[in-house]
């Protein structure tokens, strides 16, 4: 879309004095380079050009809410995924990273999204005009990223635009001498915060002692027989290392024991139960699970051009290991952008890109990061022959070392993405231009998995997946640009678009190969082989138009309309209409502003209204589906399994049809101010928005006797409203030194506005009853209700720990633990309704799972050639249930490694202890009905199995993150010139340095309400050099 650039209405018009927040990240030289590329400048002021749907516009005439993030944010990124660089830099953009794997996709949503679970409300990504994923785009090729937030700007993308639009523009060549850039980056990543596990010695001591003290039913089951990490009864070279020393000496001899103790790091201690000496070897499974990861990155690009043609060629290679052992991400990318002018009236432009990704992720995150990492430290890492030992010995999770050795080293996962776009600009008449384009984007995803025969799984399972996704997009746009007289200016656009998305998947599995040497499916036993294929097609046909008008750049007006047809809807509801209008007033251009123009150099008022849609549903929602695989309701999983019975293939109606489904519509209103102060040393973008999503596509609960629990339905409305501030300032600017500051703040409130009448107060759906002491009555809370913010969490309120059995003798009956008699060390639950019974009605409000206030700050200090950046971001207003900690203290699996909680003064150990943490029973809190740490959700807590629903483990998630501290230095030396090096830049930085937060888990960026043990964002150290020739 570079073609629009030349036609910006700038000739003879006062330059607009504005730049957004993140222009400041550039070094002065870069700044100058870009400025001169646009036009000769009278001063340092900059005309900013922003991409709007199917075109570009100067910031001065834009009447929408658009944020722009520029190249400087992407030039030294530590992460493979460019999206991560947006965090805290765009007001109103929420970015959630729940996964520190390199290349992982963060969850992104704008202005609170459009649903009650906005994590899925991803904006539409448009990369150089092609609707495709931003994954695998090399950050080094990015020129700018723009975020279209209000519906008037997104309406031009119609049915899929309700969640906002992110437009990515890659670099292009400029006419002139060829420029070659080379960049090399080296990086190290480490775990930023660690779990506070006890030593193996403390684990053994406290687990055995507590078993002896507290376990009245089956202490021997835990102490002996080699069943758990704290059990003895483990012969030489078995999975667990713990045994009585005298048994070892007697069975294997003193020499062997001496060898272990003196050369192999084994230890001894006194057993608190029997008084006998124990021998064991500690293995820190946190160290086994996590590693120090290294990164190497090379980027080369060549760009240049003549007056007829321009080109940009970018090549990149990245090899980055993840901080979880065995995970990595390798990436090769190539991008070519070119333009060719056939005549004064006709030019062609093309984008070609190809990316190859090879990566290995943890096969099952929960098993690695919730379970394997908390394996008791007494389990053996390697057998005496040096081969890995599995740990506890079940198939579902083994220690990380074993998992990689026998299974994940065979992961062969590759993804190939190809984008091809060809466009033309044809000037038909003065001001009238026709721009057709064709795009083709394919993703081929080939995955092969295998597990070698090993002691916990001997059958050598193999599986493979082959996906091919194809996106074909045909756009045709007619634009007209006309000035009438000196002051009237019109710019109109009319277009059509056809999009066809095709998905093909083949998957296969088998087992029973005779050898480990053939990891592909062909070796598996024929009778175990299963192959499945799947195809689907999705079509969107659209027509759209827009007109922009301005009078002397003072009064600005814009209107657009889009009509979208989608194959996902039923016959009668295929088409949707999406209008948008906006207007602006450059007050500073009025004569009456003249006296104010020195302090307030810029003042624009703008407002917009628009509608956009969401067609996030499948054809089966509107038309029902009959499927040969089925997700059974009772089996507790969420997996579709083949409908086969006694070897015969069956079919079932998997989804009820709802022919009445219509487009969900998000109507939004936005009003904003663009302010520039003191010659634009300070500039400010302020927006208020109000977004109403109506006819929500939502799963409406059905009465269960219908046989279905819900049906996709247009169901009520949701409002997100809030305000955003983007501030940029240059507090200090001297000849050699400058300080630039960018700051963002966003506040969002999401409430349910309307739900279908169901006879309940606030038409609440879901939820449960709790006692409200203010009203002295049971009231229904949770779920969704009109006027309420969503994402509420309730939990049992732990108000103390019974110091003695006597104190516990008259405890209220706890329904959740089967009304068992409470004893010393049990939790004291608040009996909110005072009825002498603890049940779900005694749960109390904990908070909301998502933050409502977010933002960030970028500081750039430049002294001559040296630049320092300090970036922070923050989020406030959410709570987190630290389920990892709860499950450790609860000994949830009967076999969890202990955290330091269990030996602290806060936990109950014996009669009379005044404690804040209930006793560590060693017996599972759930399985043995103790229910002191882990409580049921009752529909108003977190329903995941990895949640505590216990106030003890709830913490505020508010945080301030130190995201980046980096330095770059530009070398200027005549010597370099002689070596044809125009520019040499050295850079170094630390990223994800740490947090200021009250949350006690690994990282406070948890927005699901509960922290089961996650793949934390690593701390990254980056070092590199960039040279231009």
């Amino acid at each position: 879309m570079n073609h629009m650039l030349q036609r910006l209405p700038v000739g003879g018009i006062r330059l607009l004095l504005f730049s957004t927040v993140f222009a400041i990240g550039k070094t002065q030289a870069q700044q100058k380079e870009q400025d001169t590329a646009i036009r000769p400048m009278k001063s340092v002021n900059l005309v900013e050009v922003v991409a709007i749907g199917y075109g570009q516009q100067s910031r001065g005439t834009v009447t929408n809410s658009i944020s722009k993030v520029k190249e400087a944010e992407f030039s030294h990124t530590p992460a493979a995924n460019p999206l991560l660089q947006l965090q805290g830099k765009v007001a109103g953009l929420s970015l959630q990273v729940s996964d520190g794997q390199p290349g992982a996709t963060p969850k992104v949503f704008l202005r609170g999204g459009t649903t009650a679970s906005p994590e899925g409300d991803a904006p539409l990504y448009i990369i150089d005009g092609v609707i495709r994923t931003i994954n695998e785009i090399n950050p080094d090729d990015i020129e700018s990223v723009q975020v279209l937030k209000d519906a008037a700007s997104t309406a031009i993308y119609g049915a899929r635009a309700a969640n906002g639009i992110i437009i990515v523009t890659t670099k292009s060549g400029k006419s002139g001498k060829a420029v070659v850039n080379f960049k090399y980056t080296f990086g190290i990543e480490k775990q930023a915060r660690r779990y506070d596990f006890t030593s193996a010695r403390d684990y053994i001591y406290v687990s055995r002692k507590n078993t002896a003290d507290f376990n009245k039913t089956n202490p021997d089951f835990f102490l002996t027989g080699g069943r758990y990490g704290m059990s003895t009864g483990n012969p030489r070279n078995s999975r667990n290392t713990l045994e009585f020393l005298d048994t070892y000496v007697q069975d294997y001899g003193q020499d062997y024991v001496n060898q272990l103790l003196h050369n192999e790091g084994w230890e001894t201690m006194t057993d608190p139960v029997t008084g006998r000496e124990l021998i064991f070897k500690e293995t820190d499974y946190q160290d086994v699970t996590f590693q120090t990861a290294y990164k190497q990155e090379y980027d080369v690009n060549v760009s240049g051009g003549t007056d007829k043609a321009t080109y940009y060629l970018g090549l990149g290679y990245l090899n980055q290991d993840g901080i979880v052992l065995g995970t990595f991400y390798k990436h090769y990318s190539g991008l070519f952008n070119g333009t060719y002018k056939v005549s004064d009236k006709l030019s062609f432009n093309t984008n070609l890109s190809y990316q190859v990704r090879r990566n290995s992720d943890a096969f099952n995150y929960q098993n690695v990061l919730s379970r394997s990492v908390s394996m008791p430290f007494t389990y053996r890492l390697n057998y005496e022959d040096g081969k890995p030992a599995p740990g506890e010995g079940i198939t579902s999770f083994r220690n990380r070392n074993y998992e990689v050795y026998y299974k994940e080293k065979y992961n062969d996962v590759k993804m190939y993405r190809t984008t091809l776009r060809l466009g033309a600009d044809w000037d038909l008449l003065p001001g009238l231009r026709f721009s057709p384009s064709f795009s083709w984007f394919t993703t081929e995803d080939i995955q092969n998995y295998f597990e070698a025969s090993n002691e916990t799984n001997t059958n050598r399972p193999a599986s493979a997946i082959h996906n091919q996704d194809r996106h074909a997009q045909l756009d045709a746009i007619l634009t007209y640009d006309k000035s009438l007289g000196l002051r009237h200016h019109i710019d109109a656009m009319l277009g059509t678009s056809y999009i066809n998305d095709y998905v093909y998947t083949m998957s296969g599995s088998g087992r029973g190969a005779p050898t480990d040497n053939i990891p592909t499916l062909n070796a598996s036993a024929p009778e175990t082989q299963r192959i499945s294929t799947y195809k689907s097609t999705d079509v969107v046909m659209s027509y759209f138009g827009r007109i922009n008008y301005d009078y002397d750049q003072k009064y600005l007006f814009s209107a657009s309309l889009r009509v979208d047809g989608s194959s996902r809807f039923s016959e009668q509801h295929k088409w949707g209409w999406f209008p948008g209008v906006s207007a602006g007033w450059n007050i500073d251009r009025e004569d009456f502003w003249e006296p104010l123009s020195r302090p307030v150099s810029r003042m624009k008022l703008r407002a917009s209204w628009g509608q956009a849609g969401n067609n996030l549903l499948s054809i089966f929602d509107s038309q029902g589906s009959y499927s040969t695989s089925y997700n059974y309701i009772n089996d507790g999983t969420n997996n579709s399994v083949p409908v086969n019975y006694n070897g015969q293939a069956g079919i079932l109606n998997a989804k009820l049809a709802n022919n009445n489904l219509i487009w969900e519509v998000t109507t939004s209103f936005d009003v904003g101010l663009d302010i520039g102060l003191f010659d634009n040393r300070i500039s400010l973008l302020v927006d208020y928005y109000n977004k109403l999503t109506s006819n929500r596509l939502f799963d409406k609960p059905l009465t269960a006797s219908s046989g279905f629990d819900d049906i996709r339905s247009n169901f009520g409305s949701i409002r997100n409203s809030g305000f955003e501030v983007e501030l940029s300032a240059t507090p200090v600017r001297t000849a050699n030194f400058s300080w630039d500051l960018g700051f963002t703040f966003a506040y969002n409130k999401g409430v349910v506005v309307e739900l279908p009448e169901n006879g309940e107060d606030k038409n609440r759906t879901g939820g449960n009853y709790v006692y409200d002491p203010a009203q002295k009555a049971y009231v229904k809370v949770g779920g969704l209700a009109e006027g309420e913010r969503f994402g509420q969490r309730y939990a049992y309120n732990l108000v103390g720990v019974y110091a003695t059995d006597e104190e516990a003798a008259n405890a209220p009956a706890d329904v959740e633990s089967g009304r068992r008699q409470k004893i010393g060390g049990d939790a004291i639950w608040q009996d909110v309704d005072g009825n002498g019974e603890i049940d779900y009605r005694d749960m109390v409000f904990m908070g909301y799972i998502r933050p409502d206030k977010t933002g960030g700050m970028v500081n750039t200090l430049t002294y001559k050639g040296l630049t320092m950046r300090l970036v922070v971001d923050y989020a406030m207003g959410h709570v987190i249930d630290n389920a990892f900690r709860a499950r450790s203290n609860a000994s949830a699996r009967n076999n969890n490694m202990t955290l330091s909680d269990v030996i602290s003064d806060k936990i109950w150990k014996q009669q009379g202890d005044q404690a804040s943490i209930p006793r560590y029973t060693v017996q599972s809190d759930v399985d043995y009905n103790w229910d002191n740490h882990l409580r049921p959700s009752n529909g108003i807590g977190a329903s995941s199995g990895y949640s505590s629903n216990n106030s003890l483990y709830y913490k505020k998630g508010d945080y301030l993150a130190f995201r980046e501290l980096s330095f770059s230095y530009r070398l200027k030396s005549p010597l370099l010139q002689k070596a044809y090096i125009q520019n040499l830049e050295l850079f170094a930085g630390v990223y994800n340095i740490g947090y200021i937060t009250g949350y006690d888990g690994l990282m406070p960026e948890v927005y699901a309400g509960n922290d089961p043990g996650l793949y934390p964002r690593p701390r990254a150290y980056n070092l590199g050099v960039k040279a231009s020739f």
Binding site: D635, L652, L702, G707, E760
Partner: protein, 477 residues
């Protein structure tokens, strides 16, 4: 001129497209409009229905946990049903059962007008659908008592808010469906014991009639009719030499089986039998490890067979069923490490054991005792003892030696059903039948119910009532 060319180009692009371009026909799934066209659609759907039946049936929650067959196992995690701690917040959902009902309703409605090349094949499918729907409702009334009656599939986002009907009305529906099935099955015998058949329908009829007679204030006529039904159901079956052979996975659908639900590795192998089995590490030091049906994966000793059952097997010496039902892991010192089920042992494959036992819904052993129960209830005690002795004979305990008064014999039949049918999802309904008929007081029999007021039927979820205000909570909650 150029302008005109462009406009022509645009128009072609724009308007040839229109609506037809948006008509995308799904290839890998079928929308509702495209189904119910041919014979294969109906038979394929019936196959699908069996998988949903297998899913809802695969749990001890409703028919074992509340009874007295289980005590906590090595790994615990007992359900609220076992703890007799049910309330409106933790009540189980009937969604899966009604999903099964929905599928039957849909087939009966949309399959009705599909022509088949052979009418008998169509009759058989329809009979199977009637049978499964009857079975689903029979599960429902034994769990919740009064339940909503749904006979039409939901078609849109506003299905009727159906209230609970009295169990007696539901019973009538069950008997009607069973009678339809009996009438429709084209053959008397079996084609595939993993699917419903006319004998299976007779067996279900007998089971339902006994429930009606004892729990729903039925009468002698129901007991008489049950006797006829049992005779019809058992005409083509014979006892296996031992209980072990009845459940062995290398002897599926043997001569004793009338109707079973099929399990197999790679199709579905996680039978509920796995909940009373140890993981390998729990029995690694057992001297009799090789005899125990342990598994590396998929086993969990959530429950153990109760000492009460153990004792009951000892009542008559030589009961071969004891070792075929229960196994104790013994350590080197002769101590019991744990007690496990030994009936549903699954299959040991080279890599691991998989719990893939068929779930036998009706078999001759059980029906003989059901017949004995009906005869005893009719006060035809000597005939009842005759049936009882057939089962005792196979178990190796010889003829019944005890008192022959009605009350004693009825209690004996209940005990014998416990010994014979433990782990076969019969215990809790058995206890209820004999409780309502006055033979026992279930509150004295089930340890966890002692001293409690908890109702015998399950509660429904409060959330269900919130969605459908026509529903009422089960009495007593």
């Amino acid at each position: 001129m150029k302008l005109r060319t462009i406009f022509i180009c645009c128009s072609v692009l724009l308007f040839t497209a229109c609506n037809s371009i948006l008509d995308v026909k799904p290839e890998s799934d079928i929308t509702n409009n495209n189904y119910w066209k041919s014979e294969g659609d109906v038979t394929g759907y019936m196959t699908g229905i069996y998988t949903q039946l297998r899913d809802v049936n695969n749990s001890t929650y409703y028919f074992e946990d509340r009874g007295d067959a289980f005590v906590p196992g090595l790994e615990g995690g007992m359900t609220n049903a076992w703890q007799q701690n049910l309330n409106e917040a933790n009540a189980p959902s009937w969604l899966g059962f009604y999903n099964l009902v929905y599928h039957c309703n849909l087939l009966l409605k949309d399959g009705r007008d599909i022509p088949f090349s052979v009418q008998a094949n169509k009759d058989r499918v329809m009979a199977e659908a009637h049978f499964v729907r009857a079975y689903a409702y029979f599960l429902l009334i034994r769990i919740w008592g009064d339940v909503p009656i749904e006979l039409q599939p939901a078609v849109d986002d506003n299905p009727p808010l159906t209230a609970r009907s009295p169990a007696t009305d539901v019973m009538q529906l069950i008997l009607n469906d069973v009678d339809s099935a009996i009438a429709l099955f084209p053959e008397d015998g079996f084609r595939d014991k993993s699917r419903a058949s006319r004998p299976a329908a007779w067996a279900l009829r007998a089971d339902a009639l006994l429930w009606k007679a004892k729990v729903l204030n039925g009468g002698e006529a129901d007991l008489q009719a049950a006797l006829t039904a049992i005779d019809n159901a058992t005409a083509g079956v014979s006892l296996q030499p031992s209980l072990e052979r009845v459940h062995a996975t290398d002897n599926r659908n043997n001569s004793e089986v009338i109707f079973s639900i099929h399990f197999q590795r790679d199709e579905r192998s996680d039978s509920y039998g796995s909940r009373l089995k140890p993981r390998d590490i729990f029995v690694q030091n057992a001297v009799n490890k090789s005899s125990i049906a342990f598994a590396k994966n998929g086993a969990r000793s959530m429950y153990m067979p109760s000492p009460k059952l153990d004792t009951l097997f000892d009542k008559y010496p030589g009961d071969t069923r004891k070792d075929q039902s229960i196994i104790k892991a013994i350590d080197g010192d002769g101590e019991v490490m744990g007690v496990f089920d030994n009936k549903l042992r699954g299959t040991a494959f080279s890599d691991d054991r998989y719990f893939d036992n068929d779930q036998i819904v009706y078999r001759l052993g059980g029906l003989l005792l059901l017949k004995a129960e009906a005869l005893a209830a009719l006060n035809r005690v000597p005939e009842a003892i005759t049936e009882l002795n057939k089962v005792r004979g196979r178990a190796g305990t010889g003829n019944y030696p005890g008192a022959t008064d009605k009350a004693t014999v009825e209690k004996e039949i209940l005990d014998e059903r416990f010994r014979e049918l433990y782990m076969e999802l019969k215990r809790w309904p058995d206890l209820l039948r004999f409780h309502f008929a006055g033979t026992i007081n279930v509150y004295d029999v089930v340890p966890n119910l002692e001293g409690k007021q908890l109702p015998l039927f399950f509660p429904i979820r409060r959330a269900f009532i919130d969605i459908n205000p026509n529903l009422e909570q089960t009495e007593g909650y």
